[in-house]
Amino acid sequence: MPLARNLLLYLLATLIAPTVIAVDFERDVAPIFITRCLECHQGSEPSGGLLLTSEAGLSKGGKSGDAIREKLLERVRAGEMPPEKQGRSQRLPAKEIAVLERWIEAGANWPDQRTLDWFERTTRYRAGRDWWSLQPIKRPEAPSVKISGNAVHPIDAFVMNKLQQAGMKPAPRANKRVLLRRLHYSLTGLSPTREQLDQFVADDSPKAWENAIEELLASPHYGERWARYWLDIARFAETSGYERDQEKPYAWRYRDWVVKAFNDDMPFRRFILEQLAGDEIDARSEQSVVATGFLRLGAWNDEPNIPADYEYDRLEDIVHTTSSAFLGLTVKCARCHNHKFDPILQEDYYRMGSAFWPGPIAARSGGLLGGPTTNELGYDKVLGWTDISAKPRPLHLLKNGERLHPRKQVAPASLSSIPSLERRFDPPPDGAKTTGRRLQLAKWIADPDNPLTARVLVNRIWQHHFGRAIVRTPNNFGFLADPPTHPDLLDWLAAEFLSSGGSIKHLHRLILRSETWRQSSLHPQREEYSVRDSGNRLWWRAERRRLDAEALRDSMLQATAELDLTLGGPSFKPTISPEALEGLSRKSSAWKASPVEKQNRRSLYIYMKRGLLPPMMTTFDLCDTTLSCGERDVTTVPTQALALLNNAFVHRRSEYLAGKLTDDFATAEERIEQAWTSILKREPKRDELLLAHRHLNVQRDAFDRQAGVDALAPKMSMHLRADQAKTRRNEGQVESITDISGNGRHAFQKREDRQPVLNPNGFGGRPTIEFSKRDYLDVNGSPMKGQYATIICVANDHGPPGHREIISNWRRGENVGSSVFLGLTAENTVRFCDVFNKAGTIPNRDRPFILTAVNGEHLAAVYHNGRLLKSQSNPLRTRKLDTPWVIGQQGNINGEFWQGGIAEIRVYDGALDRHERRTVERELAERYEIELPDAHSGKKRSSEFLALASLCHVLLNSNEFIFID
């Protein structure tokens, strides 16, 4: 049947049509030229010299000079024109050939003065200047729809209208708990507490919803949430990338500027002007110059192959980011040629580029990191942008984008895509410091008549509230964009936004008060509807959403009440496991984690290093920082499950919460209930309670069974304990101590005048060996088997000023600068080898304490009572282990004697990991009644505690925690 119909059409077209329908140039011929020919046959260098935009061009013909009309027909008939593309014939359909035949036969009439423009209209293949997103915004009337009851919110009217046309109904309103949780995440990226939820559920006042919205919009955490979306768009990171990946100092001030702009509801016009031209505006201030950091955030290569080419790559980065962010246009596609799909001329690319060309784009001193000098910028400690000359080098259009083929010089101007707004940029007044081009570009973008700017922005706001945008390609409103699901709604929102003076908070209020936003993510007719509209393009229900990387991490810290809500300031570096650091070419120096107490801040404040984005965050789809990102991927992959199941960060949270619950609540019931309250913000149901109980019991029994085994014992290479001392004639002078690790590293002292004394009632009622005057012990062989080892001692000190050692193999002439020793300095600071020679003082040193020294592949560190004194993320330089070892003095110098008690010295082969070290320290602390400073570390990690942590851990992994309904 289709074949027969095509045949019929063909016959109609070729036989019947010519006799009955006259060919009309505008209607029939122009579209063929525009669609099929003009891509090549236009402009100043038309293909084959043949210009097909005007009658003159057609008449003149191409280089071959034949009678052009006949020649044209001949080549089109032969399928030579249009030429094949990538191996595929572009031969015109017979119908179009017939049109050309009839047109030429009839005299090839071309209306006077008519010039064809490739961009004048949208074709099957590309967008013209009539493309929808380039047309003025006209505020549409909200359709009148019938919904029982109250006045219909305009957003709902637009959505209902389409649903009703499709014969569909929206989902019912979600319940109040779901709504408040959704609202909190939507506006602040944080969870409400159980109390907030309960209160809201109980609040029947008509204003409850509005109040909740207002309260959150006023919260400083609102700006933190919404700034993050903008930072993705601005390709925010704090380093340059590439080999050296240098820090870009003060990038964080730009981040804080964005947060404040959202919190202050900065009018969008100013938001644009400050970021693109904060140095050029009348109200220039340090803050507005900080905003120009937008132009500085891109990756920057200090060692490009050809620096002159690299200028153009940098230009593309800035043009692309600017046009994607504010206009939703892929202007960068016009770097080498006119845009393939959108009405953007190659010249447009360079026009826009000319705004940034006067900046510090050419290679200069590497220390400037591609930016202006402090002097040029006018501010210190600001990562900003400014023109470095008011009379910059000319910028030429480059044939095929190649630097060595410059064409005409391009005059700075706006894009030509919207003819009514097209304008040249004025030259700067005499004496101006900058060209003023960026300010003019910014004003052009911010012009209320520029239809792209408001549409693109309202689309983004919608996107982050609903999970999907109205135009589902938020950085692209061109031909390849997904068409808007609700064009009228988009324009209505844009018009509202403009009439509110560019208030983003106004948009939030509009959206959040709509019923469309408040729908449930469940629908009674889901099965039917998900077949009819699987993409939910009609918005018949809310989209369930997985917490993004930031919200997930923040929520975990929030659930355990550890989240540090300090606002702004320099970023922190989270601890990244040594395994994850292996990708760096400079492993040891490239990443120094911030102090642990700074690490519980919101994820917004994580230091963004291009060469090392935090693995936990990228696993959960944190986007790459090189290109502007309008929408993150949302993936579900097993590595996410691995991260949540096993990553130390998650376990620390569960154990912290378990510790708190153990402290605060006595019974298992209460602890379970509180675990549910903290993590899921509700009380457990009966059957959940039973499941939780069972889990606690099973896990406790399993951990009990394991606890009997001291897993670390086989790792010990020396274990000296005072209760193993043999004394002379049982009078107290210590002759030897047996190494109970079984490695034969016994300690001994044959000289009676040098023997320390056993104190059977030393620390916590347990024996110690007291060293005074010039007492010490020799060790039989080396307690360390290899370079990597952990030394843990329990001792106290009443030493006089002066160095003094617990253990050492220093030896004059043989082992200077490569020995191992652990002790105190004259300033009463801890020292471990000559690397940590002043690691920090220890309080109350005459009371017993635990000193731990670790040397491992990725960490060398010293701890006092489990508290880090000093560390480095690479091992100590190679140690010489074969000189004689002694306890209680510095090697063979006959000096630096220990004055105090030593109860125990353990040496483990290899670096113990954090958990292992803590296990040993806790065991020793308990044994010798030493209080460890960390609030929960003193608590025995009983099987009961670990079982509770296991339960918390399961809840942190649950879908209920991770998804927002």
Partner: protein
Amino acid sequence: MNNSKSMFPCGRSRRREFVWEMGGGFTGLALASLLAGDRFFSGRARASTSNPLNPRATQLKTKAKSCIFLMMNGAPSQVDLFDHKPELEKYSGKQLPADKEYINSGNRKVGYLTPAWRKFRPGGQSGLMISDYFPMVRNHADKLCVLNSCHTDSHAHGSALVAMNTGKTLIGRPSLGSWAVYGLGTENENLPGYVTILDKRGGPISGQPNWSSGFMPATYAGTLFRPVGDPILDLKGPRHLSRQAQRQQLDLLAELNQRHLSARPGAADLASRISSYELAYRMQSATPEAVDLAQESRQTLDLYGIGKQPTDEYGRNCLIARRLVERGVRFIQLYSGGGHLEETWDAHAGIESNHGRHGAEVDQPISALLTDLEQRGLLEETLVVWGGEFGRMPFSEGKNAPGRNHNPYGFSMWLAGGGVKGGIKYGETDEFGFESMTNKVHLHDLHATILHLMGLDHETLTYFHQGRDESLTDVGGNVIGDVLA
């Protein structure tokens, strides 16, 4: 731009048309997966379709199912290894003719033409000339397809490494392995599809962007595998949580998630997250198993030089690569050299000292890999690629200086197995070994050829991103037909 394709290369068509064009070559499932990974289609469709790593039919009928890329980080010297230039003897002590233009990377001293530091000898039936830095690899000469005419776009390690891995000198694009996994999926869902093993001395310059998935989902990024201990991050929890204890956790989690799901019927996103936990649980045993060399015979370990120096580390990595290939991993990259300068193949301080050291580390392991793959019948379906990010100059860095500077204008790489012709040389540099002259192989050509051998067409394997159908080779690249078996 080294080809004559359309001068308007950006984007080809609207996506729907692309799908229509491709229809014949993909299975329905593959098509769905391909589209699911595409931003043109809705995220919902993405979430509810099958695992993006599911195996897909190839576009082309070719042989290689997997690729092992032996990355000689730091840039080995072609005239000392695989590009035999006896003429250099004649020119020894002279300067490179002045009409040869180049960028003097790092503004180093420019010295005199210097012949190979070790002797070249013929190998195998083919008599391919290979130097004494690779005596054992030379025994496999008849398997090798040596590309002597490679050239690239940067003289600096940072951007050249990124180019060799992603096609462009600018960071931010998906790497070769990501394209392979995006195009083909993986045949073992318990293991990552794309594995990168770094040298213990450190990562390559520029780090993560070398194995990044760029603008594609992170699913397609290379997974760093550690050759000892737990191969991937977060594979094990704290010590006290035994496998049984973790099973208890997963069972409780499944119970809670099931209750949550039953109140939300039809939620594909929730269901797929539930199943991802079971997959993760299996990965915890499958990945350590894959790197567990205790399962290998003494004979095999000896073949790779495992347990002796200096071959132990690279030997392990090569053997692990073979085990991963057997287990269906699609793309494996093994770095030789890590960190900076002499810790890599970056032989500024001396070819003999540097290449002597690194050659000795990798010669036996690479030779063993080729032997082992062949013996197991895997070489036919495994493409082995050897090379660095660029080459080195034929002249020294000063009078009698023993090292050579960077050279992106001409260098050598080789391919073996996976459907390439063995025992051949392709392309030539000039008489000095300085720049590629005949049958030039740009890195786009190399990438196009690698994809082709793996059954993928570099022109139609595209990913739609920000208004453009992006591809690995962008506007360049031709498959080198002459090297295909």
